[in-house]
């Protein structure tokens, strides 16, 4: 049958070639043929790279496959079958570059995990943070895997800004012959869900690059989708590298493939990402990027604790650090890392896995007439609905999917409208917790069906407010209580509620997320300007603790804003002490509600424009931390304005100056 088809369609082939092909294919299984089709397509796509001059030679290679790797091919074929439509042109040995743009560390985590899997499979690859990536390099790439998150109003993470801008600019190169695939991370409760990933996906394609497979958009519970995506990548890359490897040497062993198989099985079963402690299993490292080995930032991640293997830490103290009457209740939380060995640097974040309040869980259960004893399966574990709602699913946040489901269940006009009307939907997402939406309806649903509509719970990240040089085996957080009074009920953020209600001795599951883009200058003589509002003051407490412990000579300037002096001057006594000891050189304060006209940190910056520019020209590092909309945008605008006016340059030049500062690591932001 094969021969007939070949004769029918294969006009370019001589009859001799047809016979050879027939011979080669004769006893291959269906899976093997499937695999080979992709391989051949890949060869065709990049013929020059593998010197595809002699067709017979090629077919000869293909022949070797038949008696060597059928097991491997089967395994890979199986993996492939579960994947989104794979472009069959992919199979060649190309250097893969994993590029990630991460704000909170999730995208980086996925990218690192993929990189490790590739390494374990002995496949050459590079892992590069977009922030450190020279966009001009793009045209030299062969195959690029992009993992990128989206923030705010569809904006790229800071680290991805430059590359994102570049590919949309006139300088963007022709990417014909390049291959790519995109994994985008986002939060479907935002209007521009996964927009940055979409941008990369569409723009790279429009620049001529070949999409290896469809983009995958992940919601906040990205774990499963990203694992599947990584499996697709792994299978595809392995496929091509193995066939290419066979070109020169065929010693890819059966055992290695089995290892990979086993690992994949583990991943899909437990839903965990392999840790770095797998390193001992690796035959050797390929290209080592500074991101993974040796970097200071990564000192944090050396311990075995991570996001999916959090450390259960004891709460030492929870203190309200805003006074009575504050409009922004804020808590200081001290957590004991004891002998966990967890290390962090000022500027890093602490992830906290929230647990839902029992009142919220009970409210949800009773609205659906559940007892809580119903059994549900979460990651192949059977547990009570009550436990699942407490630990595994978000009740304080709802997804668009949940609203659509609820609309279908209830046929409620408003919900149906919300399901299609973006702005209505966003309003609902921003202001509803799960029980609030259930309140008005009488829904009959099984426990399994119900939890299937809920998001998986995700850890909340808090900028660390301490330095280990000062607090040693403790970690401190500054937590703003997310709380709103709606319909006579307090609706609170899951983690902030948890943290604020903790008392000494309670336990929390935590892990460190390093943030190498928010770090003190290596040179402690360097000046620093710390701009923050609200809980954005947290990393600066860590910075100053660190600098005080090191007796750093560099001057430091804190510009802080919050509503009221009397109630909201976070860590007031400590700053006074640092000023007294001259460990903090200067402080400027913007208390927005202490006078009729609102005064924000950017106003304080403008007041000190000359000094700000002077410090800048003396090499100061600038830090920005706080609410993205209120601090991120307006302060950056003000900084640009100051640069333009003080350095008497155009807005464009000011932008360039700031971009350069960013590249030098002298302008760092931690906005959320």
């Amino acid at each position: 049958m094969i021969a007939n088809l070949l004769q029918e369609f294969a006009a370019p082939l001589s009859s001799e070639q047809v016979n050879k092909v027939k011979d080669a294919l004769g006893d291959l299984s269906l899976e093997q043929v499937n695999w080979l089709s992709g391989y051949l397509a890949g060869l065709a796509a990049t013929g020059a790279a593998v010197g595809l001059k002699d067709v017979s030679e090629v077919v000869g290679q293909a022949q070797t496959l038949t008696n060597a790797q059928s097991n491997a091919a089967q395994a890979l074929g199986a993996a492939e079958a579960s994947q989104p439509s794979v472009n069959p042109k992919a199979a060649t040995n190309k250097l893969s570059t994993i590029l990630y743009g991460s704000q909170t560390g999730n995208a980086r985590g996925v990218a690192e995990s993929l990189y490790q899997q590739l390494q374990s499979a002995n496949i050459e690859a590079r892992l590069v943070d977009m922030a450190e990536y020279n966009p001009k390099q793009l045209k030299k790439e062969q195959r690029v895997f992009i993992v990128v998150s989206t923030h705010g109003e569809g904006e790229p993470p800071d680290d991805a800004l430059e590359l994102h801008e570049f590919i949309h600019s006139k300088k963007a190169p022709d990417l014909n012959g390049k291959e790519f695939a995109v994994l985008s991370l986002g939060d479907s409760s935002y209007e521009y869900f996964c927009k940055t990933g979409q941008d990369f996906d569409q723009t790279l394609a429009s620049l001529g690059a070949t999409r290896l497979f469809e983009r995958v958009d992940c919601d906040v519970d990205y774990q499963q989708a990203s694992t599947e995506w990584a499996e697709s990548v792994l299978a595809l890359v392995k496929q091509s590298s193995e066939s290419a490897a066979r070109d020169t040497h065929t010693e890819v062993t059966h055992t290695e493939v089995t290892q990979t198989e086993a690992k994949q099985a583990e991943i899909s079963q437990k839903g965990i990402t392999p840790n770095q402690d797998d390193e001992s299993n690796r035959p050797h490292l390929s290209v080592v990027t500074p991101d993974v080995a040796g970097s200071r930032a990564h000192a944090s991640a050396v311990t075995s604790f991570n996001k999916f293997n959090p450390y259960t830490a004891e709460i030492l103290d929870v203190i309200s650090i805003t006074a009575r009457g504050s409009s922004k209740p804020t808590f200081h939380v001290e957590i004991d890392l004891e002998d966990s060995g967890i290390q962090y640097q000022p500027g890093d974040a602490l992830g906290v896995w929230p647990v839902n309040q029992s009142t919220l869980v009970n409210e949800t259960l009773s609205l659906l007439s559940f007892t809580g004893e119903e059994l549900v399966t979460v990651e192949q574990q059977t547990k009570s609905l009550k436990d699942a709602l407490t630990q595994d699913f978000e009740l304080t946040q709802v997804s668009p999917g949940f609203i659509k489901w609820l609309a279908e269940q209830t046929k409620d006009d408003q919900l149906i409208q919300a399901a299609t009307d973006k702005s209505m939907l966003n309003g609902l997402l921003a202001n509803s917790q799960v029980p609030e939406l259930l309140q008005s309806f009488n829904i009959s649903v099984t426990a399994e069906e119900f939890v299937a509509q809920l998001r998986r719970i995700t850890p909340r990240l808090y900028s660390i407010a301490s330095s280990q040089q000062e607090v040693e085996e403790e970690v401190h957080l500054t937590v703003g209580l997310v709380s709103e009074q709606r319909n006579n009920t307090s609706r609170n953020g899951a983690a902030s509620q948890l943290l604020s209600e903790f008392s000494t001795g309670d336990m929390a599951r935590v892990f460190v997320e390093s943030n190498k883009h928010f770090k003190l200058p290596d040179d402690s003589n360097q000046k620093i300007i710390m701009i923050g509002a609200g809980t954005g003051i947290a990393p600066y407490r860590g910075f100053i603790q660190q600098r005080a412990a090191q007796s750093a000579k560099g001057q430091s300037w804190l510009i802080f804003g919050n509503p009221n002096f009397a109630t909201d001057f976070l860590y007031q006594i400590e700053w006074q002490q640092y000023l007294k000891k001259q460990q903090l050189s200067q402080i400027d304060l913007a208390f927005s509600r202490d006078q009729e006209e609102k005064v924000y940190v950017q106003h304080k910056l403008l007041e000190h424009a000359k000094q700000f520019n002077q410090w800048l020209q003396q090499g100061a590092h600038i830090y920005l931390c706080g609410d993205k909309d209120r601090i991120g945008k307006s302060v950056e605008q003000t900084i640009l304005q100051i640069i333009a006016s003080e350095q008497q340059c155009s807005d464009e030049q000011a932008k360039q100056i700031l971009t350069d500062l960013k590249r030098e690591g002298r302008y760092q932001k931690d906005v959320y």
Binding site: R324, A566, I573, Q576, K580, I587
Partner: protein
């Protein structure tokens, strides 16, 4: 910037010191200065009280107040400036209820300032009333406190609002110069306008004394009123303080003018007093009193209250000279080593009255005449509507604890604001923390009566006789000296004492009852028939036996007792009083006559431990 930083460091220091020390050391009678605090530049000898060096270095009360105001990192002013701002009528305070809580919150104490406006003789125009009312809302804690010394007090003003507050006051010719500090303070005078034309003359002399003894430095204008215009001729070198000199007085100095038969100003409780001698509606002159004072310290037998001595008589035209020379005697002979012993009463006690008379005569170059006879019959106010000699009406309101505020249906503050908008006469603050709406035309009387009714304002008839004769100081949470509650607690205690009196059928018997949160005696508890002086939380020293008109000091009867003991003691004494009192015998006189307490006119009258020693 470095200047601000350095400065903030100073104040930070204070934060910590304050939070560590207990309540007792918060009393401003601080100890002798240490070597460290003595400035090298000082011309003063060593060993003086710390405040002496602060005054010495202050460039006539300027200090570093301007820098303190500019320091936005803290709500307080630098430590030395905390002493100097008193001369400008301001005390730094903090909400002591919140002190520990805020420390845990990594926040400094909730600092605010009490501002005392100087109101000579307690007379304010409706426009001034409206201004104080407005700034109480704009900058204060929404209440006005009428003080026992006829001043307005605003509480809860934060540092950055001090200047706007004082500038608003300045627009209606009010100031807080020398309302506190080591100078002569607001001169009090019986504000009762009803008696005669002569009374008006007396007020005028009170106001003149107040002006005459004011410090002459322009620091107040420079610092608070954007007074750059004053600077040209007001450099410290050019500023002379002809009366006070560079170091001002060793301690505060209080002057009053009394008009018999009313001793509402408690003339015997003050450093310097003038008792107006009026005959047939004509002001003849004044008897002069010196050396009275209330303050003492628990456990320090050297300290005690003292009743003033009457030292002679002067004619009206001589009043300013007398006042000036008395102040100068205190300036030169007052104790500058120990602030606790620096009041004029100790100077008189130490040197004797005869020595003082000699000093005064020498300085005046003439002798005081012999004191003229006078009689006091009351030291409380006369409540309700009273028609004056000029045919106009006066309404004396009862103001509990002198606090002007709205509380539920009792809308005192709003009502007074409405009255001030239409009132043609003036407002008079009494020495008992009450208020007289004075000089109301017949045509306006009905309107004001309506407003009083509408706002449920109390004119005195509604409250018990006991309450009309009761007084409490501010104390907790704002006053930094308070050791026990006073203003916040007194009303509930009065309820219970009223019940006792009623049980014994004594409700109509006027008895003076006063409470202070510390022994400094702002509400003059030592001359109340029932005096309660705060010792610790919920604990008071009980003084008994004072004269009903403030002519005799009480004697300590029990120390460190709580409410139940206070009530059981009073219960028993009221029983005896009801059964055994002579006709028209006051409660104070009764307990002395029957030996419940026996005045010795010595320190043991005020210190329980000395009585115990004597007994043992």
């Amino acid at each position: 910037m470095s200047r601000t930083n350095n400065h903030s460091s100073d104040s930070v220091n204070t934060v910590n010191e304050k939070s560590v020390v207990g309540e007792k050391s918060a009393v401003d009678d601080k100890t002798v200065v240490t070597e460290k605090a003595v400035s090298n530049e000082s011309s003063l000898p060593k060993g003086l009280a710390k405040n002496e060096y602060i005054k010495d270095q202050s460039q006539y009360l300027r200090g570093t107040i301007k820098q303190s105001l500019a320091n936005f990192v803290t709500g307080e002013v630098a430590e030395n400036d905390q002493q100097l701002i008193k001369f400008h009528g301001i005390y730094q305070q903090d909400d002591r209820d919140l002190r520990n809580e805020r420390k845990k919150q990594k926040l400094e104490p909730l600092y605010s300032f009490m501002l005392r406006a100087r109101v000579p003789a307690g007379i304010a125009t409706p426009q001034q009333w409206l201004t104080m009312d407005r700034i109480a809302s704009d900058y204060g804690n929404d209440t006005i406190r009428l003080t026992t010394r006829q001043a307005f007090q605003l509480h809860g003003i934060i540092k950055k609002n001090l200047r706007p507050t004082m500038q608003a006051m300045d627009k209606v010719l009010l100031d807080s110069i020398a309302a506190c500090g080591d100078v002569n303070r607001n001169v009090m005078c019986n504000p009762n306008p009803v008696e005669s034309k002569a009374h008006k003359e007396v007020y005028q002399w009170a106001a003149r004394i107040s002006e005459h003894l004011l410090p002459k430095t322009k620091a107040y204008h420079e610092i608070w009123l954007n007074g750059e215009k004053y600077q040209a001729d007001a450099s410290p070198e050019n500023t002379k303080e002809p009366i006070y000199g560079k170091h001002y007085l060793p301690r505060k100095f209080k002057t009053v003018v009394a008009i018999p038969p009313y001793n509402d100003v408690d003339v015997f409780a003050h450093d310097l007093g003038f008792i107006a001698i009026i005959k047939q509606g004509k002001l003849l002159g004044f008897n002069v009193t010196v050396g009275g004072g209330m303050g003492m310290s628990h456990g320090d037998p050297e300290t005690h209250p003292r009743v003033a001595d009457v030292v002679g008589f002067c004619f009206p035209q001589q009043v300013l000279a007398v006042a000036e020379q008395v102040v100068k005697i205190q300036r030169d002979f007052g104790n500058r080593e120990q602030r606790k012993l620096a009041r004029f009463k100790y100077t008189i006690a130490k040197h004797g009255v005869e020595w003082f008379k000699q000093q005064l005569n020498d300085r005046l170059g003439w002798r005081l005449l012999n004191a003229q006879p006078f009689e006091f019959t009351s030291n409380s106010d006369r409540y309700g509507w009273i028609k004056g000699f000029d045919g106009r009406w006066n309404l004396n309101l009862y103001i509990e604890n002198g606090r002007i505020k709205d509380e539920g249906d009792y809308r005192l503050r709003t009502g007074l604001r409405e009255i001030a908008k239409i009132h043609q006469g003036d407002f008079r603050l009494t020495a008992n923390q009450n208020l007289i709406i004075a000089a109301i035309d017949e045509s306006n009387k009905a309107v004001i009566e309506d407003l009083i009714t509408q706002h449920n304002i109390k004119t005195g008839d509604e409250v018990s006789i006991l309450r009309r004769h009761a007084m409490a100081c501010v104390s907790l949470p704002t006053c930094s000296l308070g050791m026990a509650e006073a203003e916040r607690y007194m009303p509930s205690l009065l309820d219970k004492v009223e019940q006792l009196l009623s049980d014994h059928g004594l409700s109509e018997q006027p008895i003076t009852m006063r409470m202070t949160g510390c022994p400094n005696g702002c509400a003059r508890p030592y001359i109340a028939e029932i005096g309660l002086v705060g010792k610790g939380p919920g604990k008071y020293n009980l003084f008994l036996g004072a004269g009903h008109h403030g002519e005799r000091l009480g004697v300590i009867y029990r120390d460190n007792i709580g409410e139940s003991e206070i009530l059981s003691i009073l219960d028993e004494l009221f029983e005896q009083y009801k059964n055994n009192a002579l006709e028209r015998e006051s409660f104070g006189d009764f307990v002395v006559r029957t030996g419940v307490v026996t005045p010795s006119y010595q320190a043991q009258d005020f210190h329980m431990e000395l009585q115990a020693q004597k007994a043992s």
